[in-house]
């Protein structure tokens, strides 16, 4: 490995994380796992922000944004969990692909 680690490397990581997140969301049955996938996506975006800010020398805006996103992710997770629990109450399972009463 000759080339120094630079922006691109970080970006690649985020890209992989992003893809994995999508993959998780699509493939996992369990709603909680789907949520994990979402978290991965958010994180990958965060990495982008921070990395860009660092190498583009954009000051701290990148980090701030990442901060906001993290907080937001927390809020989202809270609500998501609540909804999942609710689903569990009504459907007594949380398999996303079995929850398809509403269709066509």
């Amino acid at each position: 490995m000759t080339v120094n680690v630079g922006l691109t490397h970080f970006l690649i990581i985020s890209a992989i994380l992003f893809s994995l997140g999508i993959y998780g969301i699509i493939t996992r049955k369990n709603a909680v796992m789907v949520l994990m996938g979402i978290e991965l996506i958010l994180n990958s975006a965060n990495i982008n922000f921070v990395a860009f800010a660092r190498y583009g020398n954009f000051g701290f805006s990148g980090q701030i944004i990442a901060l906001f996103v993290i907080i937001l992710a927390a809020a989202e997770a809270a609500i998501a969990l609540a909804i999942v629990l609710n689903i569990y109450k009504t459907f007594s399972n949380v398999n996303v692909d079995e929850i398809d009463k509403l269709k066509e």
Partner: protein, 504 residues
């Protein structure tokens, strides 16, 4: 960030502040009057009303709020207050007011009486989100306000617990929403990486640089569009719409179909106008920056949307679901106003939204009143309704005809202006497709009329006697549709005065 600026900014976002204040009041009063919560709705209504007043007072104000000091071009704020925004905010306020009124008589909401405070609090949350969406000029603000809107609406969609289709709607909405907002965020991050800023105006100036990488840019833009497209439920990001609309409580469905759609459109328009338009020429046509072929993308998407919406609606037997598809189709029509990229088209959109607000809310309202009684929205349960409960049936007929766009109803005028815009932009072919779509849409709208009137009433046809208040409200909406069908210049004039989107 010196004081004066902050004061100005706060002045500019006064309505939002009022909303927030009332949100707090609402929560407090929810705690105070936890014995009898019957007063909560009135507070909520009052709050919205007062917000509306504030909005009216500074309707024509414009300017930037919350400018950032870090970069050289400091005068572009995070928030752009202008009459265009005010117009959409008014739409939001009116629809919220109506939805609050609906909620008074919605049996679904009545069943959750002791959580009524949270219900309204969440509606407030949505409103705040929408307000910021409408006037946001910064990608991060856009993202966050959208999230605020979404989070509240996730909950509201599943507000009635223990009814499975409710919770299912909530879950789907959540997952779908989270993913598309995730995509959007990623897109934003890419833009940020290319320009180093999240402020639309700055981005606008930067993406004109020659060394900008078009492929990445369009990728990012498409990702962002996925986020917005999901809000305005335009194909191919519309899939959540039918399920959620069918699942959610009718009041919320109505609210989503108007308010959040309106906010989404306002956002889309402002995003495109500020980010990709350099100037408006004398004929009112917008000059797009050549970095991304918005025109063809939007043409394809809008045609796709309206066709898909109309054709799928042909098959629906659940009225709520049918209206969901029809609202998708209407999103397509409204996009037509955008694809011409002219003030002409923008005006058409504004006009259309006013009428769409009335007729669509009206339709949902009637559906709700009927559902209160018979607890179903299946078209077959509407058989012979025209004879047992004439007022509701007639008004529903009026709303549906108006949605079809046949004179002398407001819907026709809305469509007329859209087509005028299209013809003015010499996009005859698109106009023809849209017109044929209208003919198709007739099929399913007329089906409802058929079930209500052409099928004779029998013993199991419900007799629905709405309360006086409901009667009045329905008739007002219906009459408004007819009135605007024949006398619409005030709306046009209003729309005409609201074309200012402050930009470069």
């Amino acid at each position: 960030m010196e004081q004066t600026n902050l004061i100005q900014s706060l002045n500019l976002i006064l309505p939002e502040i009022v909303l927030t204040v009332f949100l707090v009041i609402l929560i407090l009063s929810d705690l105070i009057f936890h014995r009898n919560k019957s007063i909560i709705p009135y507070i909520a209504g009052a709050g919205i009303f007062i917000t509306g007043l504030f909005l009216i007072f500074q309707f024509y104000d414009n300017g930037f709020a919350f400018s950032q000091s870090v970069n050289a071009l400091r005068n572009y704020g995070m928030i752009a207050v202008d009459s265009f925004g005010s117009f959409f905010k008014v739409i939001v306020v009116i629809s919220s007011l109506l939805v609050v009124l609906f909620s008074f008589s919605s049996s679904e909401i009545k069943n959750t009486q002791d959580r009524i405070g949270e219900y309204y609090a969440l509606i407030y949350g949505m409103m705040i989100g929408m307000f910021f969406m409408i006037s946001a000029a910064d990608l991060i603000l856009i993202y966050l306000s959208m999230e605020l809107l979404s989070l509240s609406s996730y909950v509201l969609a599943g507000f009635i617990k223990l009814r499975d289709r409710n919770s299912e709607a909530a879950l789907k909405y959540l997952i779908y929403g989270a993913v598309s907002s995730g995509l959007m965020l990623f897109g934003i991050s890419l833009i940020y990486g290319m320009t180093g800023s999240t402020n639309l105006y700055i981005i606008n100036s930067l993406i004109q640089a020659p060394n900008i990488n078009l492929f990445t840019l369009s990728f990012a833009v498409i990702l962002i569009f996925a986020g917005i497209g999901y809000k305005i439920s335009s194909a191919p990001f519309h899939f959540w719409t039918p399920d959620v609309y069918e699942g959610a409580p009718i009041t919320i469905t109505a609210y989503l179909s108007i308010a959040s759609k309106a906010a989404g459109f306002a956002l889309l328009i402002r995003f495109i106008k500020t980010t990709f338009v350099t100037f408006v020429n004398s004929d009112g046509f917008w000059n797009l920056i050549g970095v991304f072929d918005w025109k063809s993308v939007l043409v394809v998407i809008s045609i796709l949307t309206m066709t898909l919406g109309n054709f799928s609606a042909l098959w629906q037997n659940n009225l709520k679901r049918m209206l969901a598809y029809s609202s998708i189709a209407h999103a397509g029509y409204i996009l037509l106003g955008l694809v011409v990229f002219s003030n002409q088209g923008l005006m058409a959109i504004l006009i259309y939204f006013v009428f769409y607000l009335i007729m669509n809310l009206g339709a949902f309202y009637v559906v709700m009143l009927i559902a209160n009684q018979i607890g179903s929205e299946e078209i077959d349960d509407y058989n012979g309704l025209g004879y047992t409960s004439p007022l509701l049936a007639v008004s529903l007929a009026i709303f549906l005809v108006s949605l079809t766009g046949i004179p002398p109803t407001a819907g026709f005028i809305g469509k007329l202006y859209l087509f005028i815009a299209l013809v003015d932009a010499k996009m005859i072919a698109v106009a023809v497709i849209a017109l044929l779509n209208t003919v198709v849409s007739l099929y399913y709208y007329i089906r409802v009329l058929k079930h209500m009137y052409l099928v004779k009433a029998d013993e199991n046809t419900p007799v629905i006697i709405p309360s006086l208040g409901n009667k009045v409200l329905v008739s007002i909406l219906a009459l408004a549709v007819l009135l605007f069908g024949v006398y619409f210049s005030p709306v046009i004039n209003l729309a005409k005065s609201c074309l200012i989107i402050i930009g470069l």
